[in-house]
């Protein structure tokens, strides 16, 4: 607990430390490439014949996904705390690449834990991390995916805590991580809110984002929480069916996805996919970044409060959506972000033509070309 207190203190200080904030903003702008565009998706809009759709182009960031926002924030925090070594877990590999990138940029040692199943399906990202001179450690326990990578990273952290900062990539784990990661990602919604007001002179009616742990979605949603008219919609991975083990949908019981109950995993009390004895379930998703049995606790709270809605789409629907976006907009999305597009498509019957959508295109699809090319 003491290292968590230390981190919380460092983070609280950083919030009001002008030198930290200046560096953070500078790196977001000049290293990562912020602000990202809010692009009107004219052909997708025309094709679907429904609401006006804007894409928040986080896929255009350096390293190819929103993960870099948080990695820069925590990387700077590691430097402030005098920790020369960072460790990270990764599922899709985007957080691993972002961490390795920031570590190289700031001169920190970096070790990334990645499940062997994910290393196989996201081989490009594993290679990118090595190119950035991070050490990639293969995790061969449990389901060999994100959950197991987090277990192994936590074991490393408790062992090397005096020299090491754990750069956790999503709104998961013990306090202060869910809050801190949300804050570092909330730049997405801050920009998007200004951009949509400038472009359309009104607030959006709907926000869509995919939810694994939930960092890109909370990053988009957070700035709109008080705008009661804005519907917040998180899309989970429905995998290949509703049975436990076949999906990663924690908040979609209404759609027949079974197995989620409140529980404790990796320091968080939230909805967790588990069996009746409290053993954590294995999950399935075609998308490594969504393939995780728990959801960020703030999403659990937003769902319970009915402030945000959550639903799940299948592997197949996500693949179809990825092809559609590629064809209509000339953008190959990450498989994770493709879930958000599929979620939007499935909701069209309930939407009106004058609705206004912001969809978070959280990452680009380069890393998923192996999966995509098998379908061509």
């Amino acid at each position: 607990m003491v290292p968590l207190f230390e981190l919380e203190r460092a983070y609280e200080l950083a919030k009001t430390d002008p030198s930290f904030q200046t560096q953070f903003q500078d790196l977001l702008k000049n290293f990562a490439g912020r602000p990202t565009p809010l692009q009107f998706a004219s052909r997708l809009t025309a094709h679907l014949g429904g609401p006006r759709i804007y894409l928040k182009r986080e896929d255009l960031l350096h390293t190819g996904a929103h993960k870099i926002n948080n990695a820069i924030g925590q990387g700077l925090l590691a430097v402030k705390m005098g920790k020369p070594r960072i460790i990270a877990e990764t599922g899709a590999g985007q957080h691993g690449v972002a961490s390795a990138t920031v570590a190289a940029h700031l001169g920190l040692e970096c070790v990334v834990y990645m499940g062997t199943e994910d290393m196989a399906r996201q081989a490009l990202n594993a290679a990118r991390m090595r190119m950035l001179s991070a050490q990639v450690v293969a995790v061969d326990s449990g389901s060999r995916t994100l959950k197991d990578a987090i277990n192994e990273a936590m074991r490393d952290w408790v062992t090397n805590v005096r020299t090491t900062h754990y750069l956790l990539g999503s709104v998961l784990g013990a306090h202060p991580y869910p809050t801190m990661v949300r804050d570092f990602q909330s730049v997405i919604g801050r920009e998007a809110r200004e951009q949509i007001l400038a472009a359309e002179k009104r607030l959006p009616t709907h926000l869509f984002a995919c939810v694994g742990g939930g960092s890109n979605s909370i990053g988009l949603f957070y700035q709109f929480l008080r705008d009661a008219s804005v519907k917040l919609i998180g899309i989970e991975a429905g995998g290949r069916g509703g049975q436990l083990g076949e999906h990663a949908a924690r908040l979609a019981a209404a759609q027949g996805f079974v197995g989620a109950r409140p529980g404790v995993l990796q320091g968080t009390y939230t909805y967790v996919l588990q069996n009746e004895d409290g053993q954590i379930a294995t999950t399935h998703s075609i998308s490594a970044g969504l393939d995780y049995p728990a959801i960020g606790p703030e999403h659990a709270w937003l769902a319970d409060q009915r402030r945000a809605e959550y639903s799940a789409v299948s592997d197949e629907a996500a693949l179809e959506a990825a092809r559609l976006l590629s064809r209509t907009e000339g953008i190959i999305p990450a498989l994770e972000s493709a879930h958000a597009i599929a979620g939007l498509i499935e909701r069209l019957p309930q939407m009106r033509k004058d609705d206004l959508v912001i969809l978070n295109l959280s990452g680009r699809g380069d890393k998923d070309m192996d999966t995509y090319s098998r379908l061509l």
Partner: protein, 299 residues
């Protein structure tokens, strides 16, 4: 807070006896259900017979993030054999119905929090107490979040044991101790469970810090495997916890074929390990330095 819980458990009694004799206790950890609950019963009988002062039964969990590879593998084997928390509580009942000394050995359930939470705190505490368990250690439950848990467990006369770490400040150690009853479990080094060659140099200092904030008996675990470690701890700690080294013996004997003969071989390997550790505890440095932990330790 520790004084608020009824201090009449087998655990407190055993530590009082150890203090009186100036001998270092041995706490033996094994993962319940590895390779089967029937096998675990045999192992517990053997360990108790060989002189284990407290036995910790690990409740297997799918995501044992405080554990090193040895206990991770044991948890996987135990889950594969169908072990559940309810099954482990049945095992506790069987141990209590067995013959001396196992029927009276102090038993601690060592679990991650989620299986307990899913059973329900009240149901779990009632069942654990009825089965004959003496204490519970929930590895991933922090003192901050433990209010209901401690209230309910102590109402059922179960000790609540929490972990202190080398990174814990004096203030933190005091808080952990205040939430603990039975004994305080100190982690010898930063890290996960698993046998190591040497004890960390700063362990005596950590023990002194812990002594200065609590009167509770102190058991030291994580990385302790050899009689030599036990000798060094005598006079510093009240007990040493041996886990992965015992689990390794079980693995060596029963993987991949947990036959009856293999399980019997594992049981006698556990017994001889335990006897060697008890021997070291009796004849090592423990006697010489025994008085150290009785009085107040100077800061």
């Amino acid at each position: 807070m520790s004084s608020a819980s009824p201090n009449s458990t087998r655990i407190s009694k055993r530590f009082a006896e150890l203090r009186a004799s100036g001998e270092l206790g041995i706490v033996a950890y094994i993962t319940a259900g590895d390779p089967s609950l029937d096998a675990t019963l045999k192992f517990v009988l053997a360990l108790a017979e060989a002189g284990a002062d407290v036995i910790e039964l690990g409740v297997p969990f799918s995501d044992p993030l405080a554990d090193g590879p040895t206990i991770q593998r044991a948890s996987e084997r135990a889950l594969k054999s169908g072990t559940t928390l309810a099954g482990v509580l049945n095992l506790v009942r069987s141990i209590r119905q067995s013959s001396p000394p196992a029927n009276d050995v102090p038993l601690v359930l060592f679990s991650y929090y989620n299986p307990i939470l899913q059973m329900g705190l009240e149901k779990f505490a009632a069942a654990a107490a009825a089965a004959g368990a003496d204490g519970v250690l929930a590895t991933d439950l922090t003192p901050e979040e433990s209010g209901d848990y401690r209230r309910i467990l102590s109402a059922h006369h179960l000790d609540t044991i929490f972990l202190g770490a080398p990174t814990s400040t004096d203030e933190r150690l005091a808080k952990i101790a205040a939430c603990s009853s039975g004994f305080l479990y100190l982690i010898s080094r930063t890290g996960v469970t698993g046998a190591k060659d040497a004890l960390p140099d700063d362990l005596p200092a950590l023990l002194r810090r812990a002594r200065s904030v609590t009167q509770l008996p102190i058991a030291v675990g994580f990385g302790i495997s050899l009689p030599g470690h036990v000798s060094v701890l005598g006079g510093l700690a009240d007990a040493a916890v041996i886990g992965s080294a015992l689990v390794s013996e079980i693995e060596k004997a029963t993987v991949p074929n947990p036959t009856t003969a293999a399980i019997d071989a594992a049981a006698s390997a556990l017994a001889s390990r335990l006897r060697a550790l008890k021997e070291a505890a009796r004849h090592g440095l423990s006697r010489r330095e025994a008085p150290m932990h009785r009085g107040k330790v100077a800061p």
